[in-house]
Symmetry: C2
Subunit: 348 residues, 2 copies
Amino acid sequence: MQSLAWNGQCLQLLDQTALPVKTEYFACHDYRRVAEAIRRLEVRGAPAIGAAAAFGIVLGARELAENHSDFWPGLLAVADELRQTRPTAVNLFWAIDRMMAVASRYSPLFSPEETLLALEAEAVAVAAEDEQSNRLMAGHGAKLFTEKTAVLTHCNAGALATVAFGTALGIIRQAWAEGKISRVFADETRPLLQGARLTAWELMQEGIPVTLITDNMAGWVMKRQMVQAVIVGADRITLNGDVANKIGTYSVAVLAKEHGIPFYVAAPLSTFDFSIKSGEDIPIEERGDQEVTCLGGVRIAPEGVDVFNPAFDVTPHALITAIVTEAGVLLPPFDEKIAKIRLEKGGK
Amino acid sequence: MQSLAWNGQCLQLLDQTALPVKTEYFACHDYRRVAEAIRRLEVRGAPAIGAAAAFGIVLGARELAENHSDFWPGLLAVADELRQTRPTAVNLFWAIDRMMAVASRYSPLFSPEETLLALEAEAVAVAAEDEQSNRLMAGHGAKLFTEKTAVLTHCNAGALATVAFGTALGIIRQAWAEGKISRVFADETRPLLQGARLTAWELMQEGIPVTLITDNMAGWVMKRQMVQAVIVGADRITLNGDVANKIGTYSVAVLAKEHGIPFYVAAPLSTFDFSIKSGEDIPIEERGDQEVTCLGGVRIAPEGVDVFNPAFDVTPHALITAIVTEAGVLLPPFDEKIAKIRLEKGGK
């Protein structure tokens, strides 16, 4: 399953707001449409929006080249528009930075057309490396499971959240293939129900046993010893190992601690923000009231009610058992391991 | 606001499944319709279903008297049908037992018509005492708040869950009147959204500031120190102080403990089950999949997905700061206080 695909002309995106009722791809020929898709969550999941933004830069560069516009200032504006789409997932900024680094190397020396080719190659590499890092992560992560385990996951950190394989669900997929997963409990993940709509659907497609629960059942499922591990994805990880992820992740982490259940986070290194010390500095996106008060056009709360709708929360590193990356499994203390990775990546 | 009213001829029930879109009462002239209303959650909330069942016994007794049916065996069958409607809230069984005790005293000595009059008086007393106990509870509970407090509540323990005033929301209402409540955070309470549909609506009707959140935001709201107390209702309280309440209550209690926030339970003595030692013996109702997979007719999960849908969970007494009853505020150790109440109530 692919959340996105580049065909040399346009970016094909799977419309995740229509799942599981419809499985429809739509074509983005314009970077503005990519920005809109990220804002509207037609494409979502930190790694997937990073890759989508990379192709957005390509589409923007092509438009500038075709129109003989002033290339570098134009591309800065494209990058800026893409950066404004969502604030929390750092993969978005990471991918845009990576694309702009290529553009800044090529554009002073080469024509816009030649720079465009280099940008296209870089975006294709971003997408290919994401899938590759997911597969490496799956190999490392599956080793965490030594016996048949029922796992709980929150939101969707599957193929749909990445380019093609998945972080948390990639590990579950691999562990399932190795006979180590008995069942997955999927939190439905209000308000936008990524667990019900996407995770349950992805797992059912692969024949992995999945039980859907509402978010408020997770504690009771743990209390009744129906799960033995939790694994989730991440939208941003700071130098000390704090993790921003979909709202509700923090509650699940506290509940896992209370029940002595390991709490694993799976994320590629592109999710690490080496510029931020702790989770307190992560900007948390707040989204519109109607995500909470309406569902599929049906009003489920009184008109005019006040709503608090943060899209993410931060799980402090102390609640995390291990962070699985393509470079291996990080165990606490995370700050030392993350500092080492930062150094290896050139101090950036 | 009244969840139910008896007019001498029939029981008027507010259809809580239609709230907040419509405020409609419907008439039950038949005990079978009362049973159906309890099963369908048209009337819900432990004290409210207890009172509704009491009037159901009256309606059943009237039918038997009018038809000159064999009164006592007929009434046993009526009681049995009402008992089968829902398994967890003990107020249902408490109210039916209380009604049947009256019937068993009167029916051997008096005519069915005379017994019917005694039953009607008893049901009216059940309802009146419920409202009275709520008001006493509100007075005791409001004393728990010494300064301006933002409180979080789960599900609906308001006027709609009782006959007319509310347990947890009754206390909030009283504390608000005393200037001690700054805001209420209402968990939406999936799957049936009693928090969004009923609690938010009730509080808005009274002008008490309320913020609606999804259930998975409760932990983050606590972490961000946006609330200083939690107060919920109960469906059954055992001898050791364990509390069955709406699914998700247990998670909120664990989160409150993690954040050092007091966790209060409000319930009349009719919610205490003096026959059960601990929460492990409370039967937990599991309801249909479609409550989780559909919302207002809109499908929100893949066809055929497996679902776990317990309607309640059990919060162990160790997580509870205080239990507020009409007899006063109980502090730990609860088992001693509850044993004393049981003795005062004649050892039943």
